[in-house]
């Protein structure tokens, strides 16, 4: 109880980190809903890793062309965001372009993940000046979040949320029944591109803020949990976002209370909720079957 009071107090030292991680927990599942519905979950593993490779690549290129960048400055974040976003969007567009060849989809995503992970390590190794700091950034060092970072996160994620809700009916129709969307005269490719853009922005910023593991966790786990307990599209999205934010807060509490690493604690809490709900549903179904017989 004491820990909770400390965390919720306005002058809490890690307040920005708490708000930042809750924003990631809130917005990543809104995007993740489309990963689950379009059966693109494995993309959620590959893209954050690709985003990390983009960050490492942008720093390396900057060092080669301009010189050593300054740590903890806004220009560093802009540079990282640029690299992360370019790699994520490019990867997403290339993978989406081949999406029709469904028989090799897992292979392509697996290769993307392996190449991105290897490239990240190689890019970091080639940039010895920034290695230690870079590794922190790639892990998503949310505890060092500042007011400036938080403002950027709020503005960009706010835009993503507005885009997802504003164009909800178009994104739903293109995802659920693409043919009908085309019959209605909608340019399905353009709507796909908008969705990919929103996904790219969210993953880039999510990885920079909380790291690839947490981003992937929040992209997938809360939507899968929400899918078990909702029957409508709107409630599906809202429950997924709510679960993500709640898991981010509960994970933060556990990490602070028991001195655990923040990101893994948050993903663990979200996964425990998923397992609890899935088990309860399985149990209830089993009891129902017993009564029926």
């Amino acid at each position: 109880m004491n820990t909770l009071i400390i965390i919720l107090s306005p002058d809490f030292l890690l307040r920005d980190a708490l708000i930042g991680s809750m924003l990631v927990g809130l917005i990543c599942p809104l995007v993740g809903v489309y990963f689950v519905l379009r059966r693109m979950i494995f993309l959620g593993v590959a893209l954050p890793q690709l985003s990390a490779a983009g960050i490492a690549f942008s720093f390396l290129v900057y060092r080669v062309l301009v010189g050593q960048h300054q740590h903890f400055e806004m220009s560093e974040r802009v540079l990282a965001l640029l690299g992360s976003f370019c790699f994520t969007l490019l990867g997403l567009l290339v993978l989406a372009a081949f999406a029709r060849h469904r028989e090799t989809v897992e292979a392509r995503i697996g290769i993307t993940y392996a190449v991105a992970a290897a490239a990240t390590i190689l890019f970091v190794a080639l940039d010895p000046y920034g290695e230690a700091h870079m590794i922190d950034l790639l892990k998503g060092d949310i505890l060092t979040a500042t007011g400036g970072n938080l403002t950027l996160l709020t503005v960009v994620f706010g835009g993503v949320a507005l885009g997802l809700f504003g164009f909800r009916k178009e994104l739903l129709l293109v995802s659920f029944d693409r043919d009908l969307a085309v019959v209605f005269g909608m340019r399905a490719g353009l709507w796909d591109t908008l969705l990919y853009f929103l996904i790219g922005v969210t993953i880039s910023l999510g990885v920079m803020t909380a790291g690839p593991i947490v981003t992937f966790g929040f992209l997938v786990v809360p939507p899968l949990t929400a899918r078990l307990i909702t029957r409508h599209m709107l409630t599906f999205s809202l429950v997924a976002a709510g679960l993500g934010a709640a898991a981010a807060f509960a994970g933060f509490y556990c990490a602070y209370r028991f001195d655990l690493p923040l990101g893994p604690a948050q993903v663990a809490v979200a996964s425990v909720v998923l397992m609890a709900i899935a088990s309860a549903q399985g149990l209830s179904r089993g009891i129902g079957n017993v009564h029926a017989t």
Binding site: V36, L37, R39, G166, F167, K169, E170, L172, L173, S175, F176, D177, D179, L180, V182, V183, F184, G185, R227, T230, R231, H232, M233, T235, F236
Partner: protein
């Protein structure tokens, strides 16, 4: 006598849909070549033919879902302002989407809603009316995927009606459905055509079901089409004679 419509002189005046020397196919390969026919307003037309003949390809071409390789399709209505009502095969839709019956039907109203415009009271009224028309108003709040195959198909018809279309195009609406439910669906489609004057084009394998209801038939085989009146095209003698191969699929 059935008649083959493949001349360039085929009239499009007053027709709802006119195909002139149209070739359709995929990735450069033609499935249908230089076909011509018209669909008149209020017509009830069945596209029939053996498996793989190109029935669905023709329907998709008429819907604008695949590009025309040659020739042209003329529409006697504004496709953007009033798109056709399309009922796909229900197993093409993914059950992972958590959608209620009402949400599925509301999708039909999206056709007339600009981006950023929200679904409002009017759209809900249209959806409710369409659900009543197909006899499923009582399941509006149920999850779509919990319905039977026949009910799902009727919901998809309601969704197509929510477009407020001039023409309804249905792809195998009775496929995989038990005979009782299939008869209900065909009766519903026939009522929409008869009572509301809605033009209907459907792909079907069920000769026996459609024989007594459709006014005209397009027979598709070997990349060509033959259009004729139902009583001529599907007379018992002709079915036995020309379409004998289909008796197993009835």
């Amino acid at each position: 006598m059935p008649y083959v419509l493949d001349s360039k002189e085929e009239s499009v005046n007053g027709a709802l849909l006119a195909l002139q020397q149209v070739s359709l196919g995929y990735e450069g390969r033609s499935v249908l070549e230089r076909i011509s026919f018209t669909v008149e307003r209020g017509e009830f037309l069945a596209l029939l033919g053996p498996n793989g003949a190109g029935k669905t390809t023709l329907l998709r071409g008429m819907l604008g879902l695949i590009p025309v390789q040659a020739g042209q399709i003329e529409y006697g209505f504004d496709r953007l302002a009033s798109p056709p009502g399309y009922v796909p095969q229900r197993d093409t839709l993914d059950p992972i989407f958590p959608l209620s019956v009402l949400e599925v039907v509301l999708m039909g109203t999206y056709a007339r809603l600009a981006p950023l415009r929200r679904v409002g009271r009017r759209q809900h009224q249209i959806a409710a009316t369409c659900l009543e028309q197909v006899g499923l108003a009582h399941v509006a709040e149920q999850p779509f995927w919990t319905l039977s195959g026949g009910q799902k198909q009727r919901v998809l018809i309601a969704r197509a009606l929510a477009v407020e279309p001039e023409v309804l195009l249905l792809d195998e609406p009775t496929a995989g459905i038990d005979p009782g439910a299939a008869a209900t669906i065909i009766d519903l489609i026939a009522r929409l055509n008869h009572d509301q004057g809605l033009t209907v084009v459907l792909v079907s394998h069920h000769l026996r079901l459609v024989r007594s209801l459709v006014r005209s038939v397009i027979w598709i085989e070997e990349r060509r089409v033959v259009k004729g009146l139902t009583e001529t095209m599907l007379s018992p003698e002709r079915v036995a004679d020309v379409f004998g191969m289909l008796t197993g699929t009835e």
